[in-house]
Structure formats: C-alpha cells, structure tokens
Symmetry: C2
Subunit: 329 residues, 2 copies
C-alpha cells in the first residue's frame, strides 16, 4: 500500500521503474508536464482517484477528481482549459451513487470553468473495484509571467501556505468510522486556481515554486523541494495553521499533521522582496484569509526540511514513510 501513498515508496517506484523506462526527456517530476504542440505551450497532467468512502464531509470522489487535476495544473502555473475523465465502475453500483458523482463533477467543472470534452467507462465484475475509480486528465495554458522551477529557489526566500493543513486527510480518516472519534471537520477540497491567479498577479516575477501538498502532506512536498533545489527548508511549527480537530486527532493517533493530505491548499516559495505583496494578495482573495508565511529557505543543511518546534527545539522531518492513511484521494 505504501507504494501508492505519495511518500518515499511512491518516489522509489517512480524513480526506480516508471521514470527510467517510460520518461524519455528531461522532464522534472512536477505535478504537470510542459509540452509544446502546434506552436502552443501547454501543461498536461493526470491523476487517478480511489478515495474511500466515495462521499465524505465536504466532498466526494467526483469533486476531488475535478479539483485535483485543476489544482495540479494551477500549481504548475497553468489554467485548466480542457478535461477528460474515465470511470471504472463495479458491477452492481447503484445508479444513484454514480449519478451523484457525475453531478458532483459537473458542479466542480462549472466552478472551475473547465469544459469536460471526453471520457470512457469500463465496468468490472462485482468485487473487482470498490464502487468506482475515476481518472481525470487535463490540459492547461500558462498563466502569464509565471515560471515554476525549484532550481530558481534561493536562500532567504519565504515559504507561504494558503490555509490550515490536514483537513482532508483527517476528514477521510474520521469518515471511515474505524475510530470512535467525531469532529466538526470537512475536507478542504476546492479549486485553488483563484488563489494562484491572485498570487501570480501580485508577484509573478518573485514566485519561484508552488505545490499542492496532497498525499504525503506538506512534509513530503517540501522534502521534494529541498531535494530538487539542494537547499534547506526551515519551518516554524507554531506558524503552521491547523484546526484543533486535526491537531487533536493527530496527537491521539501519533500522526504528524505535516504528513496528512490536503486537497485545497498550496505551498509557494516567494522571493523576499515580493513576500508582503504575495501574502496580501492571498489574504484579500476569497479562501485565502488564513494564508501565512510558515518558513524560509536556508543554505544548510542541504536537501532537508527542519522544523523549529514550539518548545524551541529543532527536528528534521522526512517525507512520508509507509502509509498511515491509505486511499485518501
């Protein structure tokens, strides 16, 4: 299961088998690829969704499948322009359950203003899928002036976060009712494009890198950044926004909220002279009211993420190892 968790084992599978055999070019392992076709520069991305349960507080698999692809494009500096979707349905799935997800996708597409232009449906026998799996792929066009490249990140740059972490992962965990916990928490699934656009308008020349910390959480995304830029990321634990319910569930279960999945937040690295403008732009945009600076890029220790704890200690936090929460998206 950990090969699908988005952490270390996933990265080993991608870097050890998929990338050497399948990727031919100089592609970096970003959320979306950049391709040049017919004179146009495009972003192209895909994701499969296998979240369990299909519906959860604040969202459902159909909504997640649309927002996930819109967001992968957005944090790559692109506006989603067209999407396709496929369904693998389990024989016997109730028509109402399918229709609810089709409607959820339609609503998410309308909210993100992206047309769905094609798709495919396969049906497998009872017991050969878990209700349904949805895969989406999207094409985006570049947002003017934005160029996301971890190699452009410099010591002194600031790390911004758009809002509280862990809502999606902990909501899914609670929705499975494997634990006797209750909390007033909903998934943060939403399109982040309006926030990305606000950021781009305010500080495109100083915007170095973005990533939506889904599977593997903030810690995994920032470890990938640290590795890709060869620098250190230093976080201040007490600056990282988090709902009490997330903090409480994580303490109880021994999970690190920095490893928990998010579906409606993103991280951005911004040059110091643009940071105030960037933060103000997020704060003034709907859904960005909890944005904040959570850390800084340092020269040392190379390739690592450090956390200054609330008790004045410092710890190194690694990518997600193993899979505390399978099938989160």
């Amino acid at each position: 299961m950990s090969h699908g968790a988005g952490g270390k084992a996933s990265r080993r599978l991608v870097e050890g088998m998929f990338a050497p055999l399948l990727l031919t070019g100089e592609e970096q392992l970003n959320d979306a690829a950049t391709v040049n076709i017919g004179g146009a520069t495009l972003a192209f991305t895909t994701d499969s969704f296998v979240v369990r349960p299909l519906q959860f507080p604040g969202g459902s698999i159909g909504e997640l499948a649309v927002n996930g692809t819109v967001n992968d494009l957005a944090v790559s500096g692109a506006r989603a322009r067209a999407m396709v979707a496929t369904f693998v349905l389990e024989e016997g799935l109730e028509r109402e359950v399918l229709e609810a997800e089709v409607r959820a996708m339609a609503a998410a597409l309308a909210r993100a203003r992206v047309p769905l232009v094609g798709g495919d449906t396969k049906v497998v026998e009872r017991g050969k899928a878990d209700g349904m799996y949805i895969t989406t792929a999207g094409i985006g066009s570049p947002i003017e002036g934005v160029r996301i490249d971890p190699r452009s990140v410099r010591p002194g740059d600031n790390v911004l976060l758009t809002g509280p972490i862990g809502d999606h992962g902990i909501t899914i965990l609670l929705a499975r009712s494997e634990l006797d916990l209750e909390a007033d928490l909903v998934s943060d699934t939403r399109p982040v494009l309006p926030l990305v656009e606000a950021l781009a308008a305010a500080c495109a020349p100083g915007l170095r890198w973005m990533r939506d910390p889904t599977r593997g959480g903030v810690a995994t995304s920032l470890n990938e950044l640290a590795r890709d830029c060869g620098l250190a990321v230093e976080l201040n634990e007490e600056d990282i926004p988090m709902h009490d319910a997330v903090r409480g569930a994580c303490e109880l279960l021994g999970l690190d909220p920095l490893h928990i999945a998010n579906e409606g937040q993103f991280l951005a690295v911004v040059a110091p002279e643009y940071t105030d403008m960037a933060l103000n732009a997020l704060l003034q945009t709907e859904g960005g009211e909890a944005a904040c600076v959570i850390g800084k890029i340092r020269e040392h220790p190379a390739n690592a993420v450090l956390v200054n704890t609330r008790y004045r200690g410092t710890r190194i936090i690694d990518m997600l190892v193993g899979d505390p929460l399978p099938r989160i998206c």
Copy 2:
C-alpha cells in the same frame, strides 16, 4: 456489465447521464475531442483499460493502453504528440508483472514515437482491483488536410476496412481458457497511425470518416455512423476479411464476428472517386496488405446497417446488445 461493453447500454449511459450532465458544448461523441488552446488545434482523448487476463497472445494491457489512445487520436485525424498514464494497482501485485507492463508500454510508446510526459499511481487493497487497471490520455495534433465528420458522408461513398476482424476479442476469449478451444490466433493490437497517414496522404480530400471498431466491433461503429449521418451502411458479408479461427469460434459460440472487438484495424468512409487511391495506399503500407472495400453508403433505410449475406439474403445488424465478452480492453 453491459454498460461497459461499448454497445447499446454504454451508449444509453453516455447519452442519458454523462453527456447531458457533463458535456457543455457541441461536442460530438467521437473517439477524440477537438479543442483550441493557445492558438493551437488539438485532439484530446482518454481510455481506461481493464482487460483480463493482463497478458494474452499478441499483447498485454500495457501495450493496449498505449495503442488504444494512439489509435483513438489517429482515427480522429490526429498524430499523438504526448501521453500521460495512471495505474491503479492491487496490493500484492508482483513487481515482475508490473515491470513487464511498464516495459510493454515503453516499447509501444517507442513504436508509436510518442513521449509519455507524466502519470500517477494508486494502490488499492487486495481484492479491490484485478491486478492492475491502466488509464491513458493523449494529445494529438491534426494530420494535414484530414477532416473527419460523419455529416460529410454521402450515398455512394465506400466503406474500407484495413484487415481481418475479431482477432483481439476471440484471442482474449480463448486466453481465458473458459472454453476448451485452441487456435493459432493473436491479438491485432498495434498502432494504426502509419495506415491512417498513408490514407491521408493518398486521399485526404475524399476521406470522410474513420473509426477503430474496438468494443462492440464493426457493427457498433457502423451503426453509430449510420445514426450520425442519417444514412444506411450496406456491407457484403463475403468481402469482410476474417481468420478461420475467428469464424469457427464465432459459429461455435453463436457470436457475430461483426460484434467482436478489434484493436489494430479501422474503418474508413471514402468518396467514390478517391476509393482506388485509398485502397492502393493501404495495400502498399506495411500492415495494410489485407485492406479491402467491405460496403457502401446508401440513402435508405436511414440509420441502419444492412448485411448482404453469402446466401444472397439481407439482414439488418444492430449495435452490440448485452456483453458477450466482458473486459476485452
């Protein structure tokens, strides 16, 4: 199961639920959508693959997943230019099985000269998938001069087919060993782009329509054509090429070979004055040696496919109803 079989129930699901809720524009239900992004005209398509078994004589799921998307673009008049792929893997899948499919994809991508630029992997618990499901999406750029539109089809046009039908479907059926039949038959999975390009070079102005008759077979594709152009398609049964093993298996099982899936053939409708050039172009291209004219477009009976049988009778053949061969691709 029949909702995934590519025949009548699939079409009802698409036209009754997916299309009205999800498709916003004037899209026709073709193998690939046409989108205009950043000043470029692109074709965009996606398919999920759930074939069982994963490997079969002549191919495997990984090869099929690449060729399927290359072919959907090709018969839409586009050259595949970039592809993405996702895997839904069942926990416990042997590494060797996965690696074999990744290598099969790499070989198929190289053969079709398409770069894979991104992907995603999810893992589900044991029993929640059948080894692996693969989804691919592809972007293509238009082949010069080709414009595929069923509404441009006219009475008197000829229907061409690139080679023998039913190889893929019957190979899968035999590979499942549910029947005590053996035959020297392999799947026809291959990229059809070289044949499409040869056809386009020879007769682009007279090339009205193409389709690769996968799920639902030749009969389903031609019924969709008949409906979309409001005309009749008349086939001559004895002109339709077929291996003896396919004919024999179909007779034994009461299946109509016109409903059996193909993965490396396509149908083309060509204006009468271009038909000789079109046929010669196919015959002279590697893999097109068995190409032939199998029928004609007529004015009546509207929206129907007629077959002149080898016994001088005529029958009407409908789309596939039900699902004689589940999980064929």
